[in-house]
Amino acid sequence: MIFSPAIRMNVKKRLLDGARMNRAIRRMAIEVVERNRGLDDLMIVGIRSRGVPIGERMAKEIEEMEGQPVSFGILDITLYRDDLTLVAPQPVVKPTKLPEPIDDKVIVLVDDVLYTGRTVRSALDALIDFGRPKRVMLAVLVDRGHRELPIHADVIGKTVPTDADEVIKVKLVETDGEDEVLIMEK
């Protein structure tokens, strides 16, 4: 989502602070482990940009829990967006980095917010160009509803009913200097 900095937004509510966010991510990691047998064919794939640190944290939690590292990759979906011809300027393109072939892997796609589902649609298209995974799961920190495509998350940090004119702002230490999730309104 592209937000114009010109629109002033007010904080309506603080949804998660740092401690609660960490607990949510740990719980997401546990759910991923529970839903899979072993880590050998598992790969956590963060969607740029904020899916990357969340995915990295989940991978770290899983490693601490299971005592073995889990494969981690980064997916850039810019070139697969369905609104490329509508948005100007062109969004910045960064490399996709997958550590190994994804054929027959269980892929856990990770993003910060699940909203319309269009980002996930793009991510699925991008992923399929790299191979044929055995299964693709979706893990999101916040599910805020208002889907425009038939897409759902398998693992959810927090479900929040929202109005369409509200904005969910996820801040992470890695990208924003602090951990918190805010509901903003115009």
């Binding site: 070139l79 697969y80 011809t85 062109q90 910045v92 393109v93 160009d129 790299f130």
Partner: protein, 318 residues
Amino acid sequence: MRTAGSALRSKDLLGTEHLTPEEITLILDTAEGFKEVSERPVKKVPALRGQLVINLFMEASTRTRVSFEIAEKRLSADTLNFSASGSAVEKGETLIDTAENLVAMHPNMIVIRHKHPGSPQMLADRFENISIINAGDGAHEHPTQALLDAFTIRERLGRLHGVNVSIIGDIKYSRVVRSNIHLLTKMKARVTLASPPTLMPAEVEQMGVRVVHSLDEAIEGADVIMMLRIQLERQGKLSFPSLREYYNTFGLTRERVRRAKEGVLVMHPGPMNRGVEIASDVADDPNVSVILDQVTNGVAVRMAVLYLLGGAHGGAGE
């Protein structure tokens, strides 16, 4: 609204002369993202789906035409190649008429190579809704070549700022060198030129470069040695006594590379005249030559340019 650092200001890429350092960095950063696409099992992304790109090549080209075509195809654009031979140009059609007819078929972008300097500018001014990309206009500019050269230098050395680049050979007739001087000086690289006096344009120092008169002076302290092709087709007659003499004075030989700095990069925009400006054993030495890296990087850089000019302000759909 387009902001500096995230978009190009112009709908066209006509040269490096009018690019800002921020725009150059944006193109090079974007190209890094695209380089990875060419290494995937499926070397194609849907970014320019439904866009038509016409490659209007009115002058011979292998590398540049093929490179643009691959870049367009990897972005899922529809491409159409138009060359002077076998077309109505042979019946005397003017460039403007040819372009008007092509534009009537609603392309989004036109990549043009033409022997007359300024022809891309002419099309850019005439067609407000179409992005024009200059793929070489006479001895004027060849911006994507300079961009891919800069990308290759940055990839190998990690920076452009303060890098010593020596460009040697046919300075006078080279569009590659003009685009490179504009780009490299903007990025604060230090450019040195060397050529026989007959191939050195007057007052070239005003472009912010150093001029020396021998190959050895140019090589000393250089981080990058960029050899230029002697363009026999642009010179009516030779500007030096013989090709053999040119090789002996300005040809890059193994012995001369040995005297250069440790880790020096040897570049050439191609096509090479082996045994004229560069010795085969230098051109083919993977320890110094990055000539084929330049070709690989050319596709990524052209994808970046097409992507940044395409999309929302890509023409017909606007």
